[in-house]
Symmetry: C2
Subunit: 214 residues, 2 copies
């Protein structure tokens, strides 16, 4: 039978995995909102971010409480403190999905992104989905090989981010406002993936004792 301490530690892990699901869904819905000017979807993402924030606050409190009550030793201690870092990354990923939804909402009933960048944005969104799903799986299974895949996904995200700039700096006929939106959107998708990779890297660090080289 497991002890109470490890049960509570598991609850933190479960909350982290749940957060990957929430921010993954938020990102998927934010992209739908963005590419189809779906106002209802945008509103859902913006208001749904509260749920992520509540889970963040609860998990943080639970971790502090566990640290204070149980005085865990080295290994467990590191797990809890690392969990506190991860939960902050996941909260930020929720914010970034909400930022995307807010741009969709701001431009409604127009679609914020011109036709010629939609495909790149769609691909960035697919990678964002992949990385957050994999980060959840890494969290659940401590799968180091999957963590390496995530690093490659992140490289692919960087390539798409560059392609977005190539389109912007090509024959852009959509004006400054759309260029600003696309610039910020590119940044939001890229940062989202960075945070997912950071979550995965911290799991690797817990398992191997070393942060993988970036």
């Amino acid at each position: 039978m497991r002890d109470t301490f490890h049960d509570e530690l598991d609850q933190i892990g479960t909350a982290l995995i749940e957060m990957t699901q929430l921010v993954g869904t938020a990102m998927s819905k934010a992209t739908t909102a963005l590419l189809t000017a779906d106002l209802a979807a945008a509103e859902e993402v913006v208001s749904g971010d509260d749920k992520v924030n509540v889970l963040y606050a609860e998990t943080e409190e639970r971790a502090f409480d566990l640290l204070a009550r149980q005085q865990p030793v080295a290994g467990d201690l590191r797990v809890i403190v690392t969990g506190l870092r991860m939960v902050a990354s996941l909260e930020r990923m929720g914010d970034l999905a909400a930022h995307i939804a807010k741009i969709a909402r701001l431009r409604y009933p127009q679609v914020a992104v011109p036709e010629e960048v939609r495909d790149v944005i769609r691909q960035m969104s697919v990678i964002a989905q992949n990385v957050v799903t994999k980060a959840g799986a890494v969290l659940a299974g401590h799968d180091i090989e999957l963590a390496a895949e995530l690093e490659r996904d992140d490289d692919a995200m960087d390539e798409l981010h560059k392609r977005l700039f190539t389109v912007l700096l090509g024959d852009w006929t959509h004006g400054i406002e759309a260029a600003i939106d696309v610039t910020l959107l590119g940044r939001f998708y890229e940062r989202y993936a960075d945070h997912a990779v950071s979550v995965s890297r911290r799991v690797v660090q817990l398992v191997t004792g070393e942060l993988p080289p970036s």
Copy 2:
């Protein structure tokens, strides 16, 4: 006489304050690089970020070590874990200053920002300096009133950020590339201030037990 534990805790506090100074200098130099196309200054900021990263890694290690060896109780525990959050914010602020320097470097020998936004950027930089200096003072003195000032500075930063968009969406004749640069720069200054405010808010939380309302 103070005990070893509190001496070591003080060392973490000192490192955090030193980091505010480093990232403050980096931001000041990055802005000079940006507004005067000063390549040497830009290079210094980019390479100097290593020092911030080293201090980050050392402080993180020290905090983990202290947690593991000393098994601190509630109050001290919260100080250390909060220190770990702050050090992450400060590291990120160093990155943001380096991002600004990289844009300066990329556009050298041109000045990346057109004349008409330089004043807004200069003002954003002044606020960035103010908030990081005040965050250092809040860290050093646990000065709650100064922390309230920081929140107002952050509002002023948000106003400047909006003004930047107003200029971009006005009679912009500098093309898409400069618009992208200015959009990203605005975001970097704003995020830098957000992180400084977050550091200060976490000090308030330690002192009062409550995170101030955002």
